[in-house]
């Protein structure tokens, strides 16, 4: 348990808690970006430096800004102070999530013999192996993923652009 892991994991847990519990949506998204950055640093600690860079590019860069735009396009950012933030029946969620953590995940980690030291401690650039693997055995998967991203992008535009019938009447009323 070294100092880097302690700092990064504390940062990740605290910012994840803030992202899940803050009332103000913009603060929640900024906290989520801190969480993504801490996780990217953890990936770099685990010698997956390319995945760390991808994490920052995709999550902090794209997904965070996308969520900020979605908040901007819907209403109340701050959330009124008197309004409750939890859904009805929220207390059932605590035993359910607690059962998943304490009943499944933690016992599985505790009762499984796990390696204590990494397989190799030497630094070796992983991008070379990653690029070769993406080009020879996983080329078809890469193409399918490109197709999925294109379809998702077109689908997102189509879903977000569809005008409801009520909207046209409202625009007509405003004019």
């Amino acid at each position: 348990m070294n100092i880097t892991f302690t700092i990064l994991s504390t940062l990740a847990i605290v910012s994840a808690l803030l992202a899940a519990r803050l009332r103000n949506l913009v603060y929640a998204v900024l906290s989520l970006m801190i969480f993504f950055s801490a996780l990217a640093a953890l990936f770099i600690v685990l010698l997956a430096e390319f995945i760390g860079a991808v994490q920052i590019l995709v999550y902090v860069g794209a997904v965070g800004i996308l969520i900020l735009f979605a908040i901007m396009l819907t209403h109340h950012i701050a959330g009124s102070t008197g309004e409750r933030i939890d859904a009805r029946g929220w207390f059932w969620a605590i035993p359910a999530a607690g059962a998943v953590l304490f009943g499944i995940l933690l016992p599985a980690i505790i009762y499984t013999p796990l390696p204590l030291v990494p397989s190799s401690s030497t630094y070796e650039p992983s991008v070379l192996h990653l690029g070769q693997a993406l080009m020879s055995p996983y080329a078809a998967t890469l193409e399918i993923m490109a197709l999925l991203l294109t379809a998702a992008m077109i689908g997102a535009v189509v879903i977000a652009m569809t005008l409801q019938p009520g909207d046209k009447e409202k625009h007509a009323d405003q004019n």
Binding site: A12, A19, A20, Q55, A93, S119
Partner: protein, 103 residues
């Protein structure tokens, strides 16, 4: 060095926070944020297992995480487009008010 179980416990705690938030919160965008938290916990597990694998040169962990990030990115795009579309219909992003399919 940090043992593998510390990374797994960290990922389990993050998954717990995300699950709790997705089940309790009322705002649809916060629910999406919590789903992203859970996906990232899974990614951390993949990378940690790959690092402690005796054959890291196979690159199974990073490749799976790369595809998982791509799927999560398209999920976020489509989910937020759905949130905007639902907001246009209901004038609200409260998941409690989206009960049109309730019997």
């Amino acid at each position: 060095m940090t043992p593998l179980s510390s990374y797994l416990v960290l990922a389990a705690i993050i998954f717990f926070i995300g699950l709790l938030g997705a089940l309790t919160r009322r705002h649809a965008i916060i629910v999406l944020i919590c789903i992203e938290l859970m996906l990232n916990a899974a990614n951390l597990n993949f990378i940690a297992f790959w690092r402690f694998n005796p054959h890291p040169e196979a690159m199974l962990g990073p490749i799976f995480v790369l595809f998982s990030i791509a799927v999560a990115g398209s999920e976020a795009a489509v989910g937020l487009a759905l949130v905007i579309s639902i907001y246009r219909f209901y004038r609200s992003v409260d998941v409690e008010k989206m009960n049109a399919l309730q019997g």
